[in-house]
């Protein structure tokens, strides 16, 4: 079948103009500081729409479409991919206005006879075309200490055992692949780039409710200021966007309850 694909093309952005972290310290790359205007925060991605026509099977993935476009029509088209099997989280993009993985979305899923639109994720700086700078997203990830902090007051002599029930408490949040589909679907992030975002909360949940972990309070501290869990407006965009079906809004609710319990 013949399909029409509209891709948001963005010329390559210099490090300084897109950089978010450390822009002021990167020498001549830094250049003038970016003006903080409402337009820059809330507009759709910069650049222009480019329309392609091609043959595709209904069962082709959007990633196949992108690969075919790049190899057969336009070698300058830029996107990120890695495993192509829905587990590395590299190819999250905005497909027909919704955040999805290109490798898990089929042409037939998008409705026949309609142009397919592909855009970079919203709310993160665009590097080029569909590639965004993940650094602000990963900085939020690091802020919640996404690793096991076990009790080291005594030297362990055996494994740190955990029952299936104890594991079940946080099993749902172990599925996160850091694709950024959730965080960049959040309207709070679109208006406020300082917001910690749902992904960091999912990964905080992963360790806060782990029976072997002892650093819940430190993670709560990272999530408790003005940009933490209390800024969540429960719009459920993240839950809808998650390609791993993590019930993210519920997870954030569990964190809020745990933080209230701790405060009392």
């Amino acid at each position: 079948m013949e399909i029409t694909v509209k891709v948001r093309r963005v010329p390559e952005q210099e490090g300084a103009s897109r950089s978010v972290v450390g822009a002021e310290s990167s020498g001549e790359m830094a250049g003038a500081a970016q003006p903080r205007t409402g337009k820059a925060r809330t507009s759709t991605a910069p650049g222009y729409w480019q329309t392609y026509h091609m043959e595709a099977k209904p069962t082709d993935r959007i990633l196949d479409v992108l690969m075919a476009l790049k190899s057969e029509q336009d070698g300058t088209l830029t996107f990120r991919r890695s495993c192509g099997h829905g587990i590395c989280g590299s190819d999250a993009i905005r497909i027909n206005g919704k955040n999805r993985l290109a490798c898990k979305t089929l042409v037939k899923d998008l409705g026949p006879g309609r142009a397919i639109t592909l855009e970079p994720l919203k709310g993160l700086p665009v590097v080029k075309d569909l590639v965004v700078d993940m650094e602000p997203f990963l900085a939020a990830y690091r802020s919640v200490l996404p690793y096991l902090i076990a009790d080291t007051s005594t030297t362990p002599t055996t494994e740190r055992l955990q029952s299936p029930q104890e594991h079940a408490r946080f099993e749902k949040t172990t599925k996160c692949i850091l694709c950024a589909a959730c965080t960049t679907s959040c309207p709070v992030l679109w208006t406020n780039p300082d917001y910690t975002g749902p992904m960091a909360m999912v990964n905080a949940h992963r360790f806060v409710f782990d029976s072997r972990d002892v650093a819940a309070e430190e993670r709560f501290a990272a999530l408790s200021d003005g940009e933490g869990v209390w800024r969540c407006r429960t719009t459920f965009n993240c839950t809808e966007a998650c390609p791993r079906d993590i019930p993210i809004t519920e997870v954030i609710g569990e964190l809020k309850r745990a933080m209230i319990a701790q405060a009392l």
Partner: protein
Amino acid sequence: MIPRRDPAKRAVVVPQRAELTSWVIMRVTGALLIVLVGGHLAINLMTGHGVHSVDFAFVSGKWASPFWQVWDLLLLLAGLGHGANGMRTVINDYVRGDRARLTWKLVMGVVVAILVALGSLVIFTHDPCPHGAPADLLPSFCG
């Protein structure tokens, strides 16, 4: 794209518990409002001749009782508290710049303070039997 701000450079330092407290207040006042507004509507609209019986005498009769004075005061405080807290989050989310945010929140705070003062004043200083008013407009207990 806008650079992330250094948290230490924020104009207003928000205490760690402030947002948690605000979130809890939102839930508590929300639950309270269901009861208070429900009771208010039930009494005002579903008893007697419904909305047609609401007049000066009806309101005066209600406020002659400390129960309804306290009820309406709670309604005033919960409603304004809930609404103002909601507006605060909207300002935090959508107003650009620390100074503009602070200004809007101050304006809102002043408006809320005036409304609370006026509302409380009316509830507690209301004269059910003003001198010289036609008797058919007054509650039955006015001499």
